[in-house]
Structures are given as structure tokens and as C-alpha cells.
């Protein structure tokens, strides 16, 4: 007695007429195409702006713009694991470290092309992510927070120990790459844009389709996953892997921007900045990572000269976001969908 999914009968029943809407919100019918066209035009304009941007602003501003893109990209990884899957995973910046050190080692010491080095490092980070995911899949709530913090600490310790690759506690200069003979800042900018485009589009697609739904099922109703045939453990591991992969990609470029990294680079201070990125921006939305990245990089700049205040701003914004704006800044202009997001996350995380 086999399960037969009788799709043909079903579609006949619908007549697939006016309701053949598709998944994207409100994408059924005529006026939508106009919206689509406008979106497309806007997108093209943005793309053009992005390409000519290095001609418009000075190199330091360029560096900041690139930093925003890199932070936003890394933030996507946190959205996947925390926002969509509901896991309090705090090893993110350690994965960025794997990306930064790994890419530089493969590229500079072993002579592997930079892009290949970056992708290899990202896969390595994904493997480590799965290893962490194994015990993590059994832990809930703050136990997971502690376990991932401990793992992150171990990874940073590892950076200190393997000093032939990492330069040990003193750190190591990063060999700067140049894309098609462009200046480093331009190379970084274009690479960051391409990487961000790939990461955002791919993650967005995954998020909107079956994979993303299954992750959210793990987050909101893990108890019901089994009866739907969804293996919660499998999806947690995949989310850990994807999140680590994205972090390492961003980490490789982050190293390029810093030009010099030490194990301390990938420690608490950076983790806190990333928590601010996703929680001030909005933990369940990819757009939240962009908003949060702008927030963090801009406030980092504003309080550059008064370094101590930087930390205070991060701390206060994190506290305020958790207390008053669980959906982050992005929830402000999508109020309709707000309010539930962190609640959704928090409910299952604590159950």
C-alpha cells in the first residue's frame, strides 16, 4: 500500500485559475508585473551605482562600504541559523576566522588561486559546523549557547596554536589580492558585491522554498517535524553547515579588508557586533542583515574617536532591540509581519 501523491487530480480540482498565485507574497495577477518591472529597474539602477561607486567616493569610504557588504553577508549566516532555525549559535565569528586564516594560508602559502582557496575554506568551515552541530542538535536554549561559545573558544585557541599558519597570538598579515589588476579597494568591493549577490540570492531562494520552510518548522514546532517526515536533526546540521559556510566566505574577505588578523580578531568583540547586526536589523529577515550591517559600521565610524562609547552603543542597542523591537529595525516598516518574528524564534527555543 504505497503513498500515492495524486497531483493530477488535485490540479484538476483547482482549475488553477485565479488562485494560481505562487508563493511570493501577493504575486498573483496583473498589476504585479508592473511592480516587478519597477523592481527590476530599481535593481538595475542600484547595480549601475554599485559599479561606478568607487569613482564617486574616496577610498576610505569605499572601505566602509565594502565592510558593510561583508558584514551583511556574514549576517546572512546568522539569520539562517538563529532567525530561521531558532538555534542560539554563537560560534559564528570563529567560522569567519576559519575563512580568513584558511583562505590566506591556501592562497599565500600553498599558492592556490584565491577564489578556490576561499571556497575550500568555506567547505572546511561547513564541515566544522556539522561537527559542532552534532552535539548541538541535541541541546536546547542556553545549553546550546554555552556549547557553541565553548567551541568558538576552542577554535580561537586552535588559531593561537597553529602558529605556522596563523602567526600565533601575534597574528599575521594577509596577502592582498587584486582582481584583474584593479586597485585592492576596487577588487575588494567588486568581489564583496559578487559574493553578497550570490549569498543573498541563493539564501533567499532556499529560504522561500521547501528548505527554508523545513528550517522554520524546526524553529517553531520541532515537536511536529517528525510527523511530517522532517528530520529536525538533519535540518539543524544543514543549517549549521550553511551558516558556517557563509561566515567563512565573508571571513575570507574580512581578512582582506583588515590586512592583518590575529586570533583576537575573531573573539567576543566581533561576536557582539554581529549580534547587533542581526538583532538590531531583524533576525528573521535577510534585509535585517543589511540594515544591521549599516547600523554597526556607521556607529563604529561615528564613535571611532571615542572608542569606549562604541561598545556602550552596541550594548545599549542590543538591550533595546531585545526589549522593545524583537523583530529588529526591518520590522518597523513591515509592521504587518512584525512582532511575531522573535517571538516565534523564542518560543520553540525555550520550549
Amino acid at each position: 500500500m504505497a503513498v500515492d501523491i495524486d497531483a493530477s487530480t488535485a490540479s484538476k480540482e483547482t482549475g488553477s485559475g485565479k488562485k494560481a498565485g505562487g508563493l511570493s507574497r501577493g504575486s498573483a495577477g496583473g498589476p504585479i508585473t508592473a511592480v516587478r518591472a519597477a523592481q527590476l529597474a530599481g535593481g538595475l539602477a542600484l547595480l549601475a551605482l554599485a559599479i561606478v561607486l568607487p569613482n564617486l567616493i574616496n577610498p576610505y569610504r569605499m572601505f566602509l562600504a565594502t565592510l558593510i557588504v561583508v558584514f551583511a553577508t556574514a549576517g546572512v549566516g546568522l539569520v539562517v541559523i538563529m532567525g530561521w532555525t531558532g538555534q542560539i549559535a554563537l560560534a559564528h565569528v570563529a567560522f569567519m576566522g576559519i575563512g580568513a586564516y584558511g583562505t590566506n594560508w591556501l592562497f599565500s602559502d600553498l599558492g592556490i588561486p584565491w577564489l578556490v582557496s576561499l571556497i575550500l575554506s568555506a567547505f572546511a568551515a561547513a564541515v566544522v559546523g556539522v561537527l559542532i552541530g552534532f552535539p548541538a542538535a541535541r541541546l536546547r536554549g542556553f545549553y546550546l549557547a554555552i556549547a557553541t561559545l565553548a567551541f568558538a573558544e576552542l577554535i580561537v585557541r586552535f588559531f593561537v596554536e597553529v602558529d605556522t599558519i596563523t602567526g600565533g597570538i601575534a597574528g599575521k598579515p594577509i596577502e592582498i589580492i587584486q582582481l584583474f589588476g584593479l586597485a585592492p579597494d576596487r577588487s575588494h568591493w567588486y568581489i564583496a558585491l559578487m559574493m553578497a549577490a550570490v549569498v543573498f540570492i541563493a539564501t533567499d531562494r532556499l529560504g522561500r522554498t521547501a528548505f527554508g520552510r523545513c528550517l522554520r518548522m524546526v524553529r517553531d514546532a520541532e515537536i511536529a517535524t517528525g510527523s511530517l517526515g522532517i528530520s529536525a536533526t538533519q535540518y539543524k546540521l544543514l543549517a549549521f553547515a550553511l551558516s558556517a559556510f557563509i561566515a567563512a566566505l565573508a571571513g575570507g574577505l574580512f581578512g582582506q579588508l583588515l590586512t592583518y588578523v590575529s586570533p583576537d580578531t575573531f573573539h567576543t568583540a566581533l561576536l557582539i557586533q554581529f549580534l547587533v547586526v542581526v538583532f538590531v536589523g531583524g533576525i528573521t529577515r535577510l534585509s535585517g542583515a543589511i540594515i544591521g550591517a549599516i547600523f554597526v559600521v556607521v556607529s563604529r565610524e561615528l564613535f571611532q574617536d571615542v572608542g569606549d562609547w562604541q561598545r556602550l552603543v552596541y550594548g545599549i542597542s542590543l538591550v533595546l532591540a531585545v526589549r522593545f523591537l524583537p523583530g529588529g529595525l526591518t520590522s518597523l516598516w513591515s509592521t504587518l509581519r512584525s512582532a511575531r518574528s522573535l517571538r516565534g524564534v523564542t518560543q520553540e527555543a525555550g520550549a
Partner: protein, 297 residues
């Protein structure tokens, strides 16, 4: 693919199942076979009804006994395995994702049974790949008259509609056995009709059976041809609704015995039968009465 089953092999066959948590015997020697399109599972609070569902759907491994699906032994199989073998279930409080649409929630019923490769393909292909699934999900949603809500966030719907969405999610994968845990609790009369009428039609048109835990006995009476009454972890009556509800043991289980106010007999006989050792119950894993209230909604 239709008509009530009266085949030799029951769709579900539970044999001599026992479950205990610590020293707490929640189920003892339960036999429960399902052959009718709608089978009711009733009994007072703490009887072990939800635990029996948990055993069938692989959430709880029985300490004794067997569970078979259409003759195939699935005792102790993992939840996902049972779920993929054509067993769907709902929960006392609907377990939906609040911040995605009704349609997307229903699609989860298909997602869980699709391979990762398919999921990756769906993500890569821009159109078409997920189309058939979407059409199928929409047709189920339409069947239950929720078409207008298909693109609304599931969390924005009232409880009644959420429960129906959960049923749609279970049905979209064409299960052979659907376990409904208190579908009517917390629902108004209209909601119950919106759920039950299409469900009846669905069952007659598909090769499937439904087991329903329900406190609304009128609904059970209306829907089920076969009823099992669970009390303190045992089946105490089995048969037609009329038979069960006039059974003295059942009345006693529900209201604590013969109710003539002039001479209330608090049941020494029953005490002898049930024994003092069975007074422990299953409050952690059983059903609390007052309609869906854990705030998840």
C-alpha cells in the same frame, strides 16, 4: 480508491501495547485496530489517549506490544519513518509556523517527504518545479474553504482556521491514516462544520482512515462508526457510539457511576475492578480540558 474498509488487514493494528513513564502506567495492554473510515478514541482526562497517538506516530516507544500499519510492523520506528509511511497527525494546539503563509504551511506536508535534492532543485529552478506542489496544496486548502486565506500569515488566523490548516497540511501528502487530536477543542460550531464536512467527503474519495480523539461526544457520535473508550490506560469499551455511550462502565468512567442522587453509589464494585494501584495518571503527557490554551496560537 474509495469506499469504507472492511478488509482483513486493519489499516492500523495496535496489539497489547503498554507504556509507562517511571512508575506511572499510562497504557496497559491496549489492543486497538482500525478498520472503519472514522474511528473515535474517547475517554476522560488522563486516560492515555494522546499517549496512544504518540505510540502510533513514533513519538513514544511502547514498553510492550506491537504497532502495525497495514500489516507492516512499525513498532518503535522513528517519527520521520512513520510520518513517511503515510501516517499524518495533528496536535491539540496547532503546530504551525506563524510568520509564513497558510499555503507555505500546507506545503510543509509535502516538503517533509521530498528529498534534499528535490529541495535544492526547487530552490534553483525559477519557476515550475514547485508548481505542481503548490497547485496540490491550494486544492486541499480550497477543499476546506480556506482559499481566501491561502496567502495570509498562518499566525494571523483564528484558532479554528489554524486547526483546519493543520489538517490540510496532514492531508496534502495523502496519508493512509490520519490521527486527529481533539480537532474540535476550543472551536465554535461553525468551525467544526468547516472542518468535518469536507473531511467526510475527503475520506470517501481517498484511500484513507481517520482516528479522532475528541471530547465533543456529539461530534464523535456524528462522525464515527466505531468508537473505543480508553480509561486509566485500558480500553474499557469498543463498538458503535450508541453501544459505547450506553455502556455502564463508560458512564461510570465519565461521571463516576450511577447517578441517582437519592442513593449515590460511589462504586465499590468499580474500586475492586480498577484497584487502588491505578490511581496514578499521566498529566504531563495527556489532555487537559479547557480548549487550546498554551498561547502558541
Amino acid at each position: 480508491m474509495s469506499s469504507p474498509q472492511t478488509t482483513a488487514t486493519p489499516v492500523l493494528d495496535v496489539r497489547d501495547v503498554a507504556v509507562s513513564f517511571g512508575g506511572n502506567h499510562v497504557l496497559t495492554g491496549v489492543d486497538f485496530d482500525v478498520t472503519h473510515p472514522f474511528t473515535g478514541l474517547i475517554g476522560p482526562n488522563g486516560a492515555g489517549k494522546t499517549t496512544l497517538f504518540n505510540v502510533v506516530s513514533g513519538y513514544v516507544a511502547p514498553s510492550a506490544g506491537t504497532v502495525s500499519l497495514a500489516g507492516r510492523d512499525i513498532t518503535g520506528a522513528a517519527q520521520t519513518v512513520v510520518g513517511r509511511s503515510g501516517v499524518g497527525r495533528t496536535f491539540q494546539t496547532p503546530k504551525l509556523i506563524g510568520d509564513i503563509t497558510v499555503l507555505e504551511n500546507v506545503l510543509l506536508g509535502i516538503d517533509g517527504r521530498s528529498s534534499l535534492l528535490d529541495q535544492a532543485r526547487e530552490a534553483i529552478s525559477l519557476r515550475g518545479r514547485g508548481r505542481a506542489n503548490i497547485d496540490r496544496a491550494l486544492s486541499v486548502i480550497d477543499t476546506f474553504s480556506l482559499g481566501d486565506a491561502a496567502h495570509l500569515d498562518a499566525g494571523s488566523l483564528p484558532l479554528g482556521s489554524q486547526k483546519i490548516v493543520e489538517v490540510c497540511r496532514a492531508l496534502v501528502s495523502d496519508p493512509h491514516l490520519l490521527l486527529l487530536d481533539e480537532p474540535a477543542a476550543g472551536l465554535g460550531v461553525d468551525d467544526v462544520e468547516r472542518l468535518v464536512d469536507p473531511l467526510k467527503t475527503w475520506v470517501t474519495e481517498h484511500d484513507m482512515v481517520v482516528v479522532i480523539i475528541e471530547h465533543d461526544l456529539e461530534l464523535v457520535n456524528d462522525l464515527c462508526d466505531d468508537v473505543a473508550v480508553l480509561h486509566l490506560g485500558r480500553i474499557i469499551a469498543r463498538g458503535t457510539p450508541q453501544h459505547c455511550m450506553s455502556d455502564p462502565d463508560v458512564i461510570e468512567a465519565y461521571v463516576g457511576v450511577d447517578i441517582d442522587p437519592e442513593q449515590i453509589d460511589l462504586g465499590e464494585t468499580a474500586a475492586a475492578a480498577a484497584g487502588d494501584g491505578h490511581d496514578s495518571e499521566g498529566r504531563h503527557h495527556s489532555d487537559h480540558g479547557s480548549g487550546g490554551h498554551d498561547g502558541n496560537a
